[in-house]
């Protein structure tokens, strides 16, 4: 069964235009000009139960707007949404009983009272029985090591501590779907990986479906089997992370450290006939870029036999770079296709 189903979802905002200068401000007083901004443009996707899905895109791509429609905060302009069998904005109060929400930039907790008292209050709001609450809280507190924090007021917690408490707050009622909007924003590496581990465990043990937005691609690599990439309100990629890497990774890079000075011309000569590119870092170091279709071992065989090598390092294109180049081109199609398409367009223009 699908936890989340979205069909042709669209959200349009009316944005007020401010005219320039004092005269413009005065004109605005009497006649406002509005422009329509479509934040989410007819997107469709399905997320099966128990999946962890990453939702990525640049700032302003429409991630948060989508999450807000999925959680029932915003009413879509058009299209269908179904989350856990509910239409989020229709039966909001019944629907939210079933989901957990964490907004990295906003707190769910009460600022002035102890963490445990916030949890108690949420217990009442979500109608969790005393017994279930105790069991769940013990489990979460132990897992996230919050024992010492429980009696402190939220305003005295560090960001990392607060974030862990936010996760507990969102999971106290054992929701089947968890929405996380930038859960690791501003956290240090230790806390980040703790949170990732925790989310993974939650997903495995309780079968919780998780949808998270993030700018940190390591979150995605650590957690998600699937990514949905958004650009300017449209889905430009929806599929596995490995597939994305394969599709976009254009080649690998091998770094050599030599025992004796080796000239660039020499290296080029060794690999003659291969479509590789050498760059020298200094006398004792060089890099070679090998396209995907070529076997790394073939290149290595030629160099290793001839040169005096102290160290070799093979570097795959990392996700950061892949995503950056997709953002820049604004499409997840293969770059070659893109270039071909561009050329066709040009030719057409000439004719």
């Amino acid at each position: 069964m699908n936890a989340i189903e979205v069909q042709d979802l669209r959200k349009t905002f009316k944005v007020q235009k401010n005219r320039e200068g004092l005269k413009g401000a005065f004109a605005d007083l009497f006649k406002r000009q509005y422009s329509e901004v479509t934040a989410v443009k007819d997107i469709s996707f399905k997320i099966p139960e128990g999946e962890i899905c990453g939702y990525i895109g640049e700032n302003g791509a429409g991630k948060s707007t989508t999450i807000k429609m999925l959680t029932g905060i915003l009413v879509p302009t058009s299209g269908q949404v179904s989350v856990g069998g509910f239409v989020p904005y229709m039966e909001r109060e019944k629907f939210v009983q079933n989901i957990g929400v964490v907004f990295g930039q906003r707190s769910q907790l009460w600022w002035d009272i102890g963490v445990i008292e916030s949890f108690q209050l949420l217990r009442k709001v979500y109608r969790v029985s005393e017994h279930d609450f105790k069991k769940r809280l013990d489990e979460l507190v132990e897992r996230l090591e919050l024992q010492e924090l429980l009696n402190r007021p939220v305003r005295k917690l560090s960001l990392g501590q607060r974030m862990r408490c936010e996760l507990v707050a969102a999971l106290l009622h054992n929701p089947s779907i968890l929405f996380l909007d930038e859960p690791t924003i501003g956290l240090d590496i230790v806390v980040k990986s703790e949170i990732r581990d925790f989310l993974k465990d939650t997903n495995r043990e309780h079968g919780t479906t998780i949808l998270l937005t993030t700018h940190d691609l390591q979150d995605i690599e650590a957690l998600c089997s699937r990514v949905i990439m958004l650009d300017d309100g449209r889905i430009i990629y929806d599929g596995g992370l490995e597939e994305l890497k394969q599709r976009w990774g254009t080649g690998r890079e091998v770094q050599f450290q030599f025992g004796a000075a080796t000239r660039l011309a020499q290296l080029v000569q060794w690999t003659e006939g291969m479509p590789v590119t050498w760059t020298a870092e200094n006398d004792l170091g060089a890099k070679v870029w090998i396209p995907l279709e070529l076997n790394v071992s073939d290149v290595l065989a030629r160099v290793v036999g001839a040169a005096d090598i102290t160290d070799i390092k093979i570097i795959e294109t990392n996700t950061d770079e892949i995503v950056r180049s997709i953002y820049q081109s604004g499409s997840a199609d293969k770059p070659e296709d893109k270039i071909a398409a561009l050329q066709e367009e040009k030719e057409a223009a000439h004719v």
């Binding site: 959680t71 905060i73 707190s107 008292e117 909007d181």
Partner: protein, 261 residues
Amino acid sequence: MYHLGLLWEYLKNYMKTRLTYRADFWVEVISDLLFQATNFIFIMVIFMHTESLGGWNQNEVVFVYGFFMVPFGVFSCFVNMWNFSERYIVKGEMDRVLTRPAHNLFQILLENVDPPSLIGSFIGLVIMAISGANLGLPFEWWTIPVLLLLTLSAVAIYTGIYTALTSLSFYSDAPTGILPLMYNIQNYGRYPVTIYNRAIQVLLTWIIPFAFVGIYPAALFLQRDEMRGMAILTPVVGAVFLSIGLLCWNYGVKRYKGAGS
């Protein structure tokens, strides 16, 4: 039951947080009382110059003022939406409210309860008792239940009007001017409406019915037969305006745009 339970929990939390800022608590109580005292002195000053105001003597006007304070105190305690636009719309806290399984308006009211305002209600009761005794008003078996009913109706009127006005925040970013204006107009309701001209009477009775939070219901206890019909209408007006307010609100929530990322 669920809602009452939540109310109790939020009140407990209010106490916990407020008692840590004790000085602030007392400053609020005292400034509230001073505010009421200035209004009260104003009535006294008027009656230093005249024997009656539109056919109402000093004790009657003071009684009306006392009644006016009772629902107003209850309303200020439980329905405090002054900073709604800034806190929930501009800062986007509405997001959080909407992801919890209780009605959003109810949650907002709970998060902003202000129990010190209830002190005003108690003082209002004391004023009613004193001026009522001066006037020799009878205390009947129905006095308390009717007082309760009329107070709740008046609170419903306030809540309806202010909820409808606050829901404008969902459409426009800053409906600043209207609330203070209303706040001033509602004070007209504690004087005999007959002293105003016809247009203002109609306004205060049917359009923004603040006459129903002071003079009309109070007239019932003062045995003013000319206003008895109006007094009996109070619960109806309360129900109608509360419904309008809630409809506006629920419609407005659908237009909520969220803030920031």
